[in-house]
Amino acid sequence: MIAIAHFIAITCYIGAAALAAVPFARPVGAPVRGVVGLLGIGIAVHALALLTFAHREGAVPLTGLGPSLSFAGFVLAVTLWIVELIAHEVTLTLVAAPLAALPTTFANVIGLTPGHEPAGVRGLWLFAHIALSFVGIAAFATAAAAGTMYLVERRELRSRRFGPIFRFFPPLATLDRVNHVAAIAGWLGLTLGIVLAAAYSIAYREMNVLQLLWGTGAWLCVSAVALGRVLGRWQARRAALYSSVSFVAVLVLYVAFRVAGPGAGNFL
């Protein structure tokens, strides 16, 4: 049941991305309702899968590699859905929906096996840290997606090519605004998540070096983008470029740690 629900959610995410791409192939308007609706169905089914997992295992789906990847994909899909509802723009789905489908697919392939989860206050503490960190990463991914689209569209406009990207991508100002807001949201989420993690490590004298390195790296990247935008008043292109490149770096770092590091059943 959980695997089938995951499969349906992945299909909805990919389907939403494909639907958002239709205007690039055929002369039709952006199917906003269809994309938002499909994404909403995917999120609902994904939530059902995670709830079923939590009910079956008696644990929140935050620990263990499979559950945490699935939860990461879920949070990213929810973030994307909220952005689309607010902005009435669905082209962001082209980049962000596959980003949500990817970890969900991995989770489904490797299977959802719960990791060790402490009970009581300690468990709640850990839950808050992981949830906030995932929210921060999802917002960071959204900023990176908006930044990538900004760079692509900017190049089209500067080189005076008036093809499908010119017609169907949102205005540069909209993408810049999404990048700005998402970078700040990502910074807030990751900062709170890391503060909780640091306090947790000190209180319970427990530390994972890889998690520390990766979390700190991700936090430094998103902090640079957020502070650059707010304090340094970075121009849109620099912020877009930096958020895209640094998010890819964070992903590469994660994959490298996963490959090199121990603990096959854990997120890191």
């Binding site: 002369p27 039709v28 308007g29 569209e153 406009l157 500067r158 005076r160 008036f162 093809g163 010119f166 017609r167 991508f169 949102p170 205005p171 540069l172 100002a173 909209t174 008043r233 970075w234 121009q235 849109a236 292109r237």
Partner: protein
Amino acid sequence: MPVIVAGISHRGAPVAIREKIAYRPVELVPTLAALRDRSGAREGVLLSTCNRTELYLVEGAGDALPFIWAELSARLGEEASAYGYVRRDREAVAHLFRVAAGLDSMILGEAQIHGQVRDAWSACRSQSGTVLNRLFQTSLQVAGRIRADTAIARGAASVSTAALQLARQIFGSLTGRRAMVLGAGEMAELALECLAAEGVRTAVVANRTFERAVALAARYGATAMHYEQCWEQLAGVDVLLCSTAAPHPVVTADHVRAAVERRRHQPLCILDIAMPRDVDPAVRQLENVYLYDLDDLHAVVATNLERRRAELPAVETVIAAEVERFWQWLAGLAAVPVLTRFRGEMERVRQQELQEALHRLGALPPEQRAVVEQLSRSLMNKFLHGPTVRLRAAAANGRGLGVIDALRYLFDLADSPTRDDEPVLPPAAEAARTTDDAQQGEP
């Protein structure tokens, strides 16, 4: 031959011809009334815009075409048919649907013609009737559906709207943005009008001749300034529109660089619609500057029009289906007078037989008399219901025109007097009737 359209349009007639034939709104009804008198046409609508003058008629007994050309030729002062075209029947219906949807317009898919068709029909309502009212109403519905369901009207199709499309793709909504217009000529005025319609908050007009700048700015609530002062204002502007008659670039890279630095990396959109160009091409290399000239705007228009043209097969499919539906309705209309006469004849026979029967029965109490009357009426209705329904259906699908003639023949309805406002058979019906007559060899 019931429906005919004849006229001239931008496709075959230059503007010098079109402007001579164009009718003012007050002339439409008198012209149509006179034409109907002369030609015997039952209904008429005259559509006259800057790109076309067309007469839509539902013909009477004779051919209305010579009278249409006579009318148009008299107005032109020479033979109008040399520039014109004629469409009859289904083609006439399809033509109006294409016109209303903007397929026959100078700019493919333009929306203005929709309102012009509606206005022409409204103005000529006293001259139109069942057929043309239905035809024009349907054409407006079909055009609306085509615009909504296809991309035939999407994207900018003129230089000024392409300029706005480019600016919107950078800034999103232009409401509250600041714009500067260099020049005070016709193109500058058109651009200023478009910017004002988009909600641009502050528009600045700069021109070498200050008085012209003041006059133009006053018309659109903008601010006028001397040419030399405008560079100081450039940093506060989001959209710079250049349309001067200067023979060399007036906006240099130094002007723009200084402004961009003061704008703290905010984008600046420069639309150069002047010929020769007003903006030094080196400006394009500056960071955060988006410079577009006339070639770029034409490229946007061409891309959009190409996209609109790609929609033509889908649009033609919709039109073909709607023409068929309209024609079925028109064919169904042909059965109405025959059915009316048929039922009238049956009613006459019923009354006659009823009176005879009542006479033979002698003095009946009123309630018994009512029963007999009701019996005769009920029998007649039951006998006629099936044939009536089948006849209507057959006429509507175009296969039962021989049945209509058979009915005329069997019940001797052919010689019945024809009312003036009676709908006439569509040409397909006439053709089919001729064929049926030939096959039957009767009467």
